[in-house]
Amino acid sequence: MIQKKICMIGTSGVGKTSLVARFVSSIFSDKYLTTVGVKIDKKVLTVDGTNVTLVLWDLAGDDDFQRLQLSYLRGTAGYILVADGTRQITLDQLLDIQARVMEAVGPVPFVLALNKADLQTQWEIGKERIEQLTAQGWHILLTSAKTGAGVEEAFSDLSRMLLAPKP
């Protein structure tokens, strides 16, 4: 069976672990528990008739207290960038992180999950910003680990990109 390593990347508190928990175990908790280090999960997904085992590396949030260890990205087939839609700053910080990731792993496929879409009234990331990133070729999904909206799509869209024949 095809196996692909996918890393969850973003600053702290954006919901990387919650997205993985929703995707792998269909569970959600409102309580914020910080990730220190790495947690690896696996899930088999069928994409357009092809079974693929996703090895999900949930990496600790990159912030002033802990830097993203680039060695964890070794061999990654793709990654999911995660930002918290209710905190604009997490997207600003994510752009810096993405530049470092890009330097380390090269141009591998990725998607951007703007998480906490269930909190629309507190949403801070404007439509213009999303359109701007989309125009740069970014594949963006609004996700909610709480309701499950967009979560399966984020992983399956990335898997589809990973399975697509390389030009």
Partner: protein, 366 residues
């Protein structure tokens, strides 16, 4: 197994470490006794003389062994740590690769109390950062709000001052009277703005801290709507907007009557502001199984449904619209949600917009 190696292995086992020595060609073999956690997660590797099949057991360790290999090749006193990782559901481990007298060593440690302390500190630090970011954003929004309130009040105050200055120069009693009326209207507008601001913050405080000692809320929709219609009647007449209401009846809802009247007035004012002069606003009340539905249809420009949610936010970061409208609708949302009701918006296309409110019915026993 040499005695010295066995003794060292026993010490590590007692400390909760698994000690592996690299054997040529390329394999890791357990030295000494296996700690309990190793027997639990990788029983095959915990048996005496068994090799650690990293690629089958742990993708994390497999990745780390590449860094470890570089460390072993470098030799000397160099060492490399993996950083913490979680194996299985909740086993927290950390690996260290080092060389001892030319022997490649891999130590895997179950993280204990020190790590829990470190994690607790990180948890607190990150929670604090998130709280600080939210507070910072809230402060920025409050500054914008204060600016908007000041702007709104300055406009009305400017009208009062202009009227009074003109009165000073005016000798015609009729014109003076008219100017006094204008000044009075501007003063009332200022008062309305102040009430609106106080409404928003009073209800936010109530939603945060509850309403201690408050009696069970109960209002009759018909009575409250009549009062609200009376309150906005002159504004509608002034703008020549027709106001029609239908579906009245005796319907009791579990909502504070004073709050409900403010909500109705706000929604009627919102509809009036959106509707062009000569247009029409329709209000409809319908009894449902356990709830009461109210619909306020205006004749304003279509608001697309993708921005519906934002209409009820106190601040809208992406769409420009009058702050007074935002405050009006924000107050409505707070008041309605506080009594377990619902509020929403539906586009009527080119015909305008519908703002609807669903209120819980009043049942004395509830």
């Amino acid at each position: 197994m040499p005695a010295r190696e066995s003794a060292i292995g026993a010490v590590f086992e007692t400390l909760g470490f698994a000690l592996f020595l690299r054997e040529e060609p390329g394999g890791l073999k357990l030295a000494g006794e296996a700690p309990a956690w190793l027997k639990e997660i990788w029983p095959g590797a915990a048996q005496s003389g068994a090799m650690l099949e990293v690629s089958e057991l742990s993708p994390f360790l497999e990745n780390f062994l590449i860094d470890a290999g570089e460390c072993w090749t470098a030799g000397g006193t160099s060492r490399v740590k993996s950083g913490p990782w979680i194996e299985g559901t909740d086993l927290e481990l950390e690996a260290t690769a080092l060389s001892v007298n030319g022997q490649a060593v891999l130590l895997i440690e179950q993280l204990g109390k020190d790590f829990e302390t470190r994690k607790a500190v990180l948890q607190k630090a990150r929670e604090t950062v998130i709280a600080y970011q939210r507070l910072n954003t809230e402060m920025q929004k409050k500054e914008i709000l204060l600016h908007c309130i000041a702007e709104d009040m300055t406009g009305a105050l400017g009208n009062v001052i202009t009227s009074l200055r003109l009165i000073e120069l005016e000798h015609d009693p009729l014109k003076t009277r008219r100017l006094l009326e204008l000044a009075m209207l501007a003063t009332q507008e200022q008062q309305n703005i102040i009430h609106r601001v106080l409404d928003v913050f009073a209800d936010e405080l109530e939603s945060l801290y509850g309403r201690a000692g408050k009696n069970q809320a109960d209002a009759e929709v018909h009575d409250v709507m009549q009062r609200a219609l009376g309150a906005v009647q002159s504004e509608y007449q002034e703008k020549r907007v027709r106001l029609t209401a239908s579906g009245f009846g005796t319907l009791r809802v579990a909502v504070d009557a004073g709050h409900l009247e403010r909500v109705f007035v706000n929604l009627l004012e919102n509809a009036l502001h959106a509707t062009p002069a000569g247009g029409e606003v329709k209000v409809r009340i319908e009894a449902e199984a356990d709830t009461v539905l109210l619909q306020f249809d205006d004749g304003g420009a279509e608001i697309h449904e993708e921005v519906s949610e934002k209409l009820f936010a106190k601040f809208d970061c992406s769409e420009a619209r009058p702050q007074a409208t935002a405050l009006r609708l924000h107050f409505c949302r707070i008041a309605i949600e506080n009594c377990n009701g619902e509020i929403g918006h539906t586009s009527l296309g080119t015909a305008g917009n519908r703002f609807w409110v669903r209120l819980p019915g009043f049942h004395p026993a509830q």
